[in-house]
């Protein structure tokens, strides 16, 4: 029983980690796209390039 519970816990952790990564990527790309479209490019660390 504990093995299944642990497995469930591990897979849930994976799900959360993946969700966090996806969330980060979405908004990181959003920042670049939105500022780029306005003629305000950013560096990779999101600082202004101009």
């Amino acid at each position: 029983m504990t093995e299944i519970a642990n497995e469930k816990k591990a897979s849930r952790l994976v799900v959360w980690l993946l969700a966090i990564v996806v969330g980060l990527v979405i908004f990181y790309l959003l920042d670049h796209a939105v500022m780029g479209m306005q003629g305000l490019p950013l560096n990779w660390d999101l600082t202004p390039a101009q």
Binding site: Q38, G39, L40, Q50
Partner: protein, 269 residues
């Protein structure tokens, strides 16, 4: 009825509460700019500079953007004379000013001639300035007012004021002092440009192929004069024939200037 009383009471109370918010905030009135005549005989450099300072935060609305919030350089915080000379010396500077006074005047009349880094319109990469041209609407500053502001900006840092005090006999200097791309011409130049004197008696001409323009204001209204130029064949004066050409290249501004000149022509002679 009870429901109506409760809901109505709640509604009215809420409306009044919102109205009360307006009472606790600072009260300011914004008067429209009034025109007053400056008595040039009594003008001293001190009062001229003071006038410039008034204009800076008043009619000129300079302080609306030139302040610490970052929209435009905060000129009250640095030495304008020194910084102007620095800007002129900047390799990116492509304007035609050679000293502080010229630089300030150029900045006001042609703001996009040189834009300080970081203050340009979004997306223009500092080639376009969001600053309005000060002698056009809605600001409409006169030469006198522009000079007063320049005098103020020079004086506030203790620097010498290079702007001469305006004298009573000086005619209104045309904007053409600063090289603008389309130097506006006066009505006399326009009459020469469009060749009116070839057929009409106006200015120095005595031509009689068309009606005498020197006293045209006594015979025609401004609207009729305007129509006669825009559409010469519409109304022909007694005893004249249709030979007046049309002027497809004449702009509306030029037309207006000529009409205004002709309606007071008999007074200027």
């Amino acid at each position: 009825m009870n429901v109506l009383a409760k809901t109505l009471g709640f509604s009215v109370a809420l409306v009044v509460a919102f109205g009360a918010v307006a009472y606790v905030l600072p009260q300011m009135e914004g008067p429209a700019p009034e025109q007053h005549v400056v008595n040039l005989d009594e003008l001293t450099m001190e009062s001229f500079v003071a006038m410039g300072e008034d204009l800076y935060s008043g009619k000129g609305t300079c302080s609306l953007c030139h302040n610490a919030l970052g929209r435009a350089p905060d000129m009250l915080e640095f030495n304008v004379t020194e910084i102007s000379l620095q800007r002129i010396a900047d390799p990116n500077y492509e304007g035609s000013a050679g000293n502080t006074e010229e630089y300030l005047r150029e900045s006001m009349l042609q703001p996009s001639a040189y834009v300080v880094a970081g203050f340009g319109t979004k997306g223009s990469n500092d080639t376009e300035s969001p600053m309005p041209v000060v002698d056009k609407a809605p600001l409409g500053l006169s030469i006198l007012e522009i000079d007063a502001i320049i005098a103020f900006l020079q004086d506030k840092d203790g620097e010498p004021v290079s702007v001469p005090l305006p004298v009573a006999t000086a005619t209104v200097a045309p904007v053409a002092e600063v090289t603008a791309s389309a130097a506006p011409q006066g009505p006399e130049e326009l009459i020469v440009k469009f060749g009116c004197a070839a057929c009409h008696a106006v200015l120095d001409s005595q031509a009689a192929l068309g009606p005498d323009l020197n006293d045209i204001a006594t015979r025609l209204s401004a609207a009729e004069i305007r129509e006669s130029i825009a559409n010469p064949a519409a109304v022909i004066g007694d005893g004249f024939i249709v030979i007046m050409p049309e002027f497809p290249a004449m702009t509306v501004g030029e037309l207006e200037m000529i009409v205004a000149f002709l309606t007071v022509a008999d007074e200027t002679l």
